[in-house]
C-alpha cells in the first residue's frame, strides 16, 4: 500500500514535468507569435511507421549514451565526457572494422571490443587524474571532449579514403554489417539490429548496479563516501572502475549507427549524443526503465519536430527548448516528491513510536 503510493508519486513527477514543459513552451510560442495549435498538432500527431522506426533507432542510441552517464551519476561522478568518449571510440572501431583483419561476425566483435576499450581508456584518463591528483572529473572530461574532437579530426585526415570528397574511414565490408529488422509494418526503413545491444546494456546495468556487490559498493560510495570508506570500500578504486565502465558504455553509443547506418566514421557522424544522454539520464532518474522512457520521449520529440518547419513554419529548435525545460522541471519535481516522501516516512515512524509507547504503557500501567 505504502509502496504503491510512493510509486504513483514517482510516476507523477515526470508526467507533471512534461505537462509543465508543454505549458511553458506554449507561453514561449505565444510570445513569439507562433501558431501554438499547429505546433502541438504536429508534435503530438500520430507518428507514421517510418517515423516510428526512426524513433526506436535514435532512442536506442540515446539510451546507451544515458546509461553511460548514469553509471557515473550513481556514484556521484559527473562524466561530461561521454561525448568525446563515444566519438573517439566510434572512430577507432570504424577504423578497425574497415581494415577487416578478421572476417564477418568476428570483425564486429573485435570492433565492439575496440570501442569499449578506447572509450574506457579515454574516460580512464579523467578517472586517473581524479584519483591521483584530485582533479575534478567535470573539468577534465570537458577538456578531454575538446581534445577528442581535435584528435579524431586529425586522425581522420590521415586514414581517410583518398580521392573522395567525403572524408571517412574505409567502409566496413558487407559481411560485417549488422542487418536491420523490418518489424514495423508499412515502413520501408528498418530497425537497427543493434537495438538489442541497447537492451543488453540496460540489463547489464540493472544487474550490475542493483544485484552485485560491486554495484552496492558503487551506490554506497555515491550515497556517502565517508560511510563507504568506514565500511571497507576502496573509494579510489571505485572511482576509477566507475569511470572505466562509464567510458566503455559510452564506447557503445556509436555502434548502432556505425554497423546499421553509416558503415564508416566520417565528418558527418552524428555529434552531440553525449550531452543529450546526460539530460535523458536525469529525466530517467538513472533507472534503466526510466531512462528507456526518457530516451524514447526525446527521440519522439526530435523526430516529430522535423515536420515543424513545413507544417507550422516554426523552427524545429523549439523542441530543444521544450526538452531543456522538461529536464529542469523534472529535477524540481523529483525533489518535491522526495521531500514529500520523506515527510510521510517520518510521520509513519512517529506513529510507530507512539504505538510502541502506548503498548508499553498498557503493559506497565
Amino acid at each position: 500500500m505504502i509502496r504503491v503510493r510512493s510509486m504513483l508519486m514517482t510516476m507523477a513527477a515526470p508526467i507533471l514535468a512534461v505537462a509543465l514543459a508543454v505549458l511553458i513552451t506554449t507561453v514561449v510560442l505565444l510570445a513569439a507569435g507562433d501558431p501554438v495549435g499547429r505546433v502541438w498538432g504536429t508534435i503530438f500527431s500520430e507518428p507514421r511507421p517510418r517515423n516510428i522506426v526512426n524513433i526506436i533507432n535514435s532512442g536506442s542510441v540515446l539510451y546507451l549514451s544515458a546509461l553511460a552517464a548514469a553509471v557515473g551519476f550513481r556514484m556521484g561522478l559527473f562524466n561530461i565526457g561521454v561525448d568525446g568518449q563515444y566519438r573517439i571510440a566510434a572512430f577507432a572501431a570504424a577504423y578497425v572494422a574497415g581494415q577487416a583483419w578478421v572476417p564477418g561476425i568476428l570483425n564486429i566483435a573485435l570492433a565492439i571490443l575496440t570501442a569499449m576499450l578506447v572509450g574506457a581508456m579515454w574516460a580512464g584518463i579523467a578517472g586517473l587524474l581524479k584519483v591521483t591528483r584530485g582533479i575534478s572529473e567535470v573539468i577534465s572530461t570537458i577538456m578531454l571532449n575538446a581534445i577528442a574532437t581535435a584528435l579524431v579530426a586529425w586522425m581522420l585526415r590521415s586514414v581517410a579514403v583518398p580521392g573522395s570528397n567525403n572524408i571517412t574511414t574505409t567502409p566496413i565490408p558487407e559481411s560485417s554489417r549488422v542487418p536491420g529488422m523490418a518489424l514495423i509494418p508499412g515502413a520501408h526503413n528498418e530497425i537497427y539490429g543493434f537495438v538489442f545491444l541497447a537492451v543488453a546494456a540496460g540489463l547489464f546495468y540493472w544487474v550490475l548496479l542493483s544485484r552485485t556487490r560491486f554495484g552496492f559498493n558503487l551506490r554506497a560510495t555515491g550515497a556517502s563516501e565517508s560511510a563507504a570508506v568506514a565500511s571497507g570500500i576502496d573509494t579510489k578504486k571505485m572511482i576509477l572502475a566507475a569511470m572505466l565502465i562509464s567510458g566503455a558504455v559510452a564506447g557503445l553509443v556509436g555502434m548502432p549507427l556505425l554497423f546499421g547506418d553509416s558503415y564508416s566514421y566520417g565528418v558527418t557522424f552524428q555529434p552531440g549524443l553525449g550531452f543529450a544522454g546526460i539530460a535523458v539520464a536525469l529525466l530517467g532518474r538513472n533507472h534503466p526503465v526510466g531512462i528507456a522512457f526518457g530516451a524514447l520521449l526525446f527521440a519522439f520529440l526530435n523526430e516529430q519536430a522535423n515536420a515543424l518547419q513545413l507544417q507550422a513554419g516554426v523552427s524545429a529548435e523549439i523542441v530543444k527548448v521544450m526538452q531543456g525545460i522538461t529536464v529542469l522541471s523534472v529535477v524540481i519535481a523529483y525533489e518535491v516528491v522526495r521531500r514529500a516522501n520523506r515527510a510521510a516516512e517520518q510521520r509513519r515512524v512517529a506513529a510507530e513510536l507512539a504505538r510502541a509507547r502506548a503498548e508499553a504503557t498498557e503493559v506497565t500501567g
Binding site: 552485485t212 554506497a220 570508506v229 568506514a230 565500511s231 520523506r342 516516512e345
Partner: protein, 506 residues
C-alpha cells in the same frame, strides 16, 4: 516564589509541531530574575526547540512569551536580543583567526565601535563578572573553557540580561565546569538571569536555583534543588528508573585478542604527530576505555586500527594474526565490529533503506552476499532479525535510515556490528545523542559482548559511561597514551585532571 516579584521570563502554553513530530506541547516555564534556572530533560525531549523559540529562531505554533512583564513575539533572534535575551550555543560560533575583541564586536560594531571604546567595554564586562580574558588574544590560541567565556561575553556585550546556555558543560572537563559555574554565580550576583539547559543532573543540582523538567516535549514539574536528589530528577526526566552503566563481575581472561604496539601517525598537514608510539593490549572479555579530551588522537587511533589510516610503524595483531597491512574489509572479516563516533557520516547510508544499511561493512560476507552478488533475501531476513532482537523501532526494513531517531539508528548499527561473530568491538561514543532508553539498551549490548568474550575498545567523552563499563581506562593526551587508571577507584574529577595533563592518579 511569590507572584509579586516581576518575572524575567514567563512561557505559557507553548506548542511547536514539526511534520509528524510534536516538539513542544503545552510548555509552561517561569524564570525569576537573578536566578540560575535549569531546564533538564533527556535528549530529544524538546529542550533545544524550546530555547530556539525563546531566542526567536523558531516561532511557536501556540502560547505566549512574556519578558520582564511584557508580552513579546519574536520574528528573529534580533528581536530577542533587543529585549535583552542572549544565547550561547553548544557549538561555538567564533572565528578562529580573529581576536577576542574582533569576535565580540563582529556584528555589533554600532554599540561601541571597534577600537579603544570597545576594548574598554570588554575589560569592564570581564572584570565585573570575574572573567579572566585578554581582548587581544587570538581565539585559535584559547582553550575550550576560554572560548566559552568569549561567547558569554559576546552576549553580555550586546546588553543581554537573560542568558540562555545550551548544554554548556558538554564540551568541558570537570575543572572547567567548576570555573563556568563560578562565572554563572557572578552573573547571578550582578542581577542577571541564566537559563541553563542540561541533561547532567549532578551539575544542575550544584548550580541551579530552580529546575524545570521537560519530558516528551512538555514541562512536567519545577523543583528546588534542596528538595530533590539526582535520582528523583532522573525519574522525573524518564518517567521511570534511570539505568546505570556499571558492569558486573570481571570476565577478563589472559588471552590477548588485540595487541597494538608502536603505532604512530604523522599529521599530513605538517603539525605535530597525531599519534606517537601507541601500545596496549585488550584481552578476551575485557573492556578497555580510552579517556581524553576530544581531538587528542582518539579518532585517529580508531581509524588506524580499522585500516582507514595507515601507521608508518608498529604492528597491530588481532587474535594472533598480524593485520597491520590488511585492508579495512579484510580486518572486518577477521572480526572487527565498529560503532563509529559519527553515525551519520560513517555508520549509515541515510537515504537508503534499513536492509541496505545492514549490508554496509558486510558486503563480502553471508548473509549479505554470495559470490559477488548481493543476497537480498538473506540481507532482508537478517535485518528483520536485528530489528526484532535489538528493538529498533521502525515501521519496517524498507524505511530509510534517515527517518529513524538517533537511538534507533544506533541500535541498528550495534546490531549490525555484532553480526558475523566479531572478536573485537570498537565503540566510539556509542551513546552520544541517544535517548535514555536506547542508552541503557546499548550499554546492555556492550556488557553482553564482554560476557561473550569479545575484546571491547570503548572511547567516550561521558566519564560515567567510561568508568562504569571499562575494566581498565587508558588516558590519551596529544596523541599518546599517558597513563592508566583503575575504573573501580577513580572519580570523574580525577579522570578529568588526568585528561588535561595533570598527574595521573595511581
Amino acid at each position: 516564589m511569590s507572584d509579586e516579584t516581576p518575572v524575567a521570563v514567563r512561557l505559557t502554553g507553548i506548542g511547536k509541531r514539526f511534520p509528524g513530530v510534536i516538539a513542544n506541547d503545552d510548555v509552561n516555564l517561569t524564570v525569576h530574575p537573578g536566578t540560575v534556572h535549569a531546564v533538564v530533560g533527556e535528549n530529544g525531549a524538546g529542550k533545544s526547540t524550546l530555547m530556539k523559540i525563546l531566542y526567536g529562531v523558531q516561532a511557536p505554533d501556540s502560547g505566549t512569551i512574556e519578558v520582564e512583564g511584557n508580552q513579546v513575539s519574536f520574528s528573529s533572534p534580533a528581536d530577542a536580543i533587543d529585549v535583552g535575551i542572549g544565547m550561547v550555543f553548544q557549538h561555538f560560533q567564533l572565528a578562529d583567526n580573529f581576536t577576542v575583541l574582533e569576535n565580540i564586536v563582529l556584528g555589533a560594531e554600532k554599540l561601541h565601535g571597534t577600537g579603544e571604546r570597545a576594548r574598554r567595554r570588554i575589560r569592564e564586562l570581564a572584570s565585573a563578572y570575574g572573567f579572566a580574558i585578554n581582548p587581544d588574544a587570538l581565539v585559535e590560541h584559547l582553550g575550550v573553557g576560554a572560548r566559552q567565556r568569549v561567547e558569554i561575553l559576546k552576549v553580555l556585550y550586546r546588553g543581554a540580561r537573560i542568558i540562555i546556555l545550551d548544554e554548556p558543560t558538554a564540551v568541558l572537563v570537570p575543572q572547567e565546569v567548576d570555573e563556568l559555574f563560578d562565572n554563572l554565580r557572578e552573573l547571578k550576583a550582578e542581577g542577571l538571569t541564566v537559563i541553563f539547559i542540561s541533561h547532567k543532573l549532578d551539575e544542575v543540582l550544584k548550580v541551579a536555583d530552580e529546575i524545570t523538567v521537560i519530558r516528551r516535549g512538555t514541562t512536567v514539574d519545577t523543583v528546588v534543588p534542596a528538595d530533590v536528589t539526582a535520582r528523583d530528577l532522573a525519574t522525573l526526566m524518564v518517567g521511570s528508573e534511570l539505568p546505570s552503566p556499571a558492569t558486573e563481575v570481571s570476565t577478563v581472561t589472559d588471552q590477548v585478542l588485540l595487541e597494538v604496539s608502536g603505532v604512530g601517525l604523522v599529521d599530513p598537514h605538517g603539525g605535530r604527530d597525531l599519534l606517537t608510539d601507541i601500545r596496549f593490549t585488550i584481552h578476551r572479555g575485557e573492556v578497555l576505555g580510552i579517556a581524553g579530551v576530544e581531538g587528542n588522537g582518539q579518532s585517529e587511533l580508531v581509524e588506524v586500527i580499522m585500516g582507514i589510516r595507515h601507521s608508518p610503524a608498529g604492528t597491530i595483531r588481532l587474535a594472533g594474526r598480524e593485520i597491520s597491512d590488511e585492508s579495512t574489509t579484510r580486518r572486518r572479516e577477521t572480526g572487527i565490529g565498529y560503532i563509529p563516533e559519527d553515525r551519520h557520516r560513517h555508520g549509515l547510508l541515510l537515504d537508503s533503506p534499513l536492509w541496505e544499511n545492514r549490508i554496509l561493512g558486510h558486503q563480502t560476507r553471508p548473509p549479505c552476499s554470495r559470490r559477488g552478488f548481493i543476497d537480498r533475501a538473506g540481507a532482508r531476513a537478517d535485518t528483520e532479525r536485528i530489528v526484532t532482537s535489538y528493538d529498533v523501532r521502525t515501521p519496517g526494513i524498507d524505511t530509510h535510515a534517515r527517518a529513524l531517531s538517533g537511538g534507533n539508528q544506533q541500535k541498528l548499527i550495534v546490531g549490525r556490528e555484532m553480526s558475523g561473530d566479531p572478536v573485537l568491538l570498537i565503540a566510539a561514543h556509542p551513546t552520544r545523542g541517544v535517548d535514555v532508553g536506547a542508552q541503557a539498551a546499548i550499554w546492555d549490548h556492550i556488557k553482553t559482548a564482554r560476557r561473550k568474550g569479545l575484546a571491547v575498545l570503548l572511547i567516550s567523552a561521558d566519564l560515567d559511561e567510561l568508568i562504569g563499563l571499562s575494566d581498565r581506562i587508558a588516558v590519551m593526551l596529544r596523541g599518546a597514551l599517558v597513563g592508566e587508571v583503575d575504573p573501580r577507584t577513580v572519580t570523574p574529577t580525577q579522570l578529568g585532571s588526568a585528561m588535561t595533563g595533570a598527574e595521573v592518579p595511581a
